[in-house]
């Protein structure tokens, strides 16, 4: 039995009268490739916001590597090893790509020794992801695909144990999707656990070892990609009745 890196127990979140998440429980194992899917408005983004700390869950608990993190501010969760990319890229617009990467390096990877020389490290990551030649550019000058890559590169710079990739491939061409998938596989081989949230089924199904399906704030299915595809509940959720 593999070690549980992230464990979510009975998490609930409301916005006013609207139940965004009801009693959701799931776990992610160490070094797993984990898929999270569900129709629009099913609560995926709310759930990862609760994990990353942008939102606070109301009921239940969230454990990361055995530590309860539900009450922690987001930056401390990042320092524990949870990094995320955003669905709509949120780069630091006034900084070059290199400087963008220096922020997580300085504040997370080297949080204890501020001022360490992080530029060369940032350059390495840019090199890995294929943005090295644009290190001096501003995010505004990037193409859609490079923007996605920057988003991932910045998350990588936080040196996470767990990387949450929030629809990193939306709007990309098939070739570009493969490019991103390749990066994610490589990261996973390097020992990083990955949660992928994605609408592009081809990508999730080929990437994930295990998938959880959310619908209307509740978990309706869990299993291998094959199991999930053949699940009736899932079919109903996606196609409607």
């Amino acid at each position: 039995m593999a070690e549980k890196l992230l464990e979510i127990r009975n998490v609930t979140k409301r916005f006013g009268g609207f139940h965004a998440l009801t009693d959701v429980s799931l776990h992610v194992e160490k070094n797993e490739r984990f898929g999270l899917i569900g129709p629009n408005g099913s609560g995926k983004t709310t759930l990862i916001n609760c994990i990353s700390g942008a939102l606070r869950n109301e009921g239940g608990s969230i454990l990361f590597a055995g530590t309860e993190i539900g009450a922690m501010p987001a930056y401390r969760r990042t320092r524990l090893g949870i990094a995320r990319s955003f669905q709509i890229p949120k780069p630091f617009t006034s900084m070059t790509l290199l400087e963008n990467l220096c922020i997580p390096l300085e504040y997370t990877a080297h949080a204890k020794s501020h001022g360490a020389d992080v530029a060369s490290e940032a350059m390495e990551i840019l090199d890995q992801i294929g943005l090295a030649d644009r290190a001096d550019k501003l995010p505004a000058d990037l193409t859609q695909i490079d923007m996605r890559k920057l988003e991932l590169a910045r998350a990588m710079a936080a040196k996470p144990q767990l990387l949450i990739s929030d629809e990193a491939m939306a709007g990309l061409s098939a070739n570009e999707v493969d490019g991103i998938l390749e990066i994610l596989f490589k990261l996973n081989e390097g020992g990083i656990t990955i949660i992928m949230i994605e609408h592009i089924m081809r990508a999730v199904m080929s990437f994930s070892e295990r998938i959880v399906v959310l619908d209307a704030g509740e978990k309706i299915a869990e299993g291998t990609p094959d199991e999930v595809v053949n699940n009736k509940e899932v079919e109903r959720a996606y196609l409607g009745e």
């Binding site: 501010p73 900084m95 220096c102 997580p104 949080a111």
Partner: protein
């Protein structure tokens, strides 16, 4: 490389202070000291405003409140036991710094605009308290007698000029330090995208509180010698909206992302205002500030520093 940069800047800063001191010993004309004092005071205020507004992206409309609290702290102490000026500076800075910390703690969890509104309200509330606090003169105001003489300087005006020049140098130096440190880079991340910054491990609340505190303290320090400068202090002039407008317009004109921006803005706009005061009518003075503010925000959002860079970039592009 890094420590060399520090040394150079410290040397430049000390040199400016020394020059200010030498000027006081060679020039007699009082007007230049008074006018320069006002301009230098705005260098401090604009730089202070920019640490929060320009670096971190939170708009403070309450500069007057922080400035006036520094002044009134000094007035209270002068009424109590007439301490030396450096005590006033420290106390004024402490009170306004705490004020910044408090207002930051109250509102910085919210969207930035609420912080701005709160600072607006803060100025009104504090003005009301000062108006009702009879010990420091209340609404009627109070006259402050400045010390007759001071060692090394031939009169107190020169001394105040020297103090304010040193404070301006110190303020710009602090801004430079912050800008070029991990703290400054974290602030810039907050300004660019707060949510992303936090997810990249930046402790946003702590940094924002640091910014409000330092910025508030610097404004308070700038306000501390004010009562000696005007010798008469009353709430409506100490809390004058001009401080809020100018300390915001100056960085906008100069450029908000570097320490140089507020310095350029304060010197240009401040000097222009001093000249306008003695040449044009004051309506024109206000009109100029207002138009500059709107004009720069609309047409040159990066300020003069940004314009300058753009021009040079173009020139370099051509030569390359």
């Amino acid at each position: 490389m890094k420590s060399k940069g520090h040394l150079l800047h410290i040397a430049v800063a000390l040199a400016v202070v020394l020059v200010a001191f030498l000027i006081t010993n060679s020039m007699e004309n009082r007007y230049y000291y008074k006018a320069s004092y006002v301009v230098l005071q705005y260098v401090v205020l604009a730089t202070a405003w920019n640490i929060l507004g320009g670096y971190t992206g939170y708009v403070n409309f309450g500069t007057a409140a922080f400035f006036a609290m520094g002044s009134y702290t000094a007035v209270a102490l002068i009424k109590l036991w007439k301490p030396p000026l450096y005590v006033l500076l420290v106390a004024g800075g402490a009170v306004s710094g705490l004020l910044g910390l408090g207002i930051g703690y109250l509102t910085l969890r919210l969207r930035g605009v609420f912080f701005s509104i709160a600072t607006l309200a803060l100025a009104v509330v504090l003005q009301m308290f000062m108006t009702n606090w009879e010990f420091v003169g209340g609404g009627a105001g109070t006259a402050i007698l400045k010390p007759r003489s001071v060692p090394f300087f031939s009169n107190y005006d020169e001394f105040l000029f020297f103090v304010m020049a040193s404070l301006a140098v110190a303020a710009v130096f602090v801004a430079w330090l912050i800008e070029n440190s991990w703290v400054g880079r974290g602030m810039a991340a907050i300004r660019d995208n707060e949510e992303a910054a936090e997810c990249m491990g930046v402790p946003i609340l702590k940094l924002k509180l640091f910014a409000t505190t330092v910025s508030g303290a610097m404004m308070g320090i700038a306000g501390a010698p004010f009562s000696y400068f005007v010798v008469f202090i009353e709430p409506s002039s100490a809390f004058h909206l001009d401080y809020a407008v100018n300390s915001l317009a100056m960085p906008m004109v100069g450029g908000t992302t570097t320490w140089l921006g507020p310095l350029i803005g304060a010197v240009l706009v401040g000097t222009a205002q001093q000249i306008a005061t003695v040449t044009l009518s004051a309506e024109m003075n206000l009109l100029i500030v207002g138009s500059l503010l709107v004009g720069f925000v609309v047409f040159a959002p990066e300020g003069l520093v940004g314009l300058f860079r753009k021009l040079r970039g173009r020139a370099m592009g051509r030569s390359a």
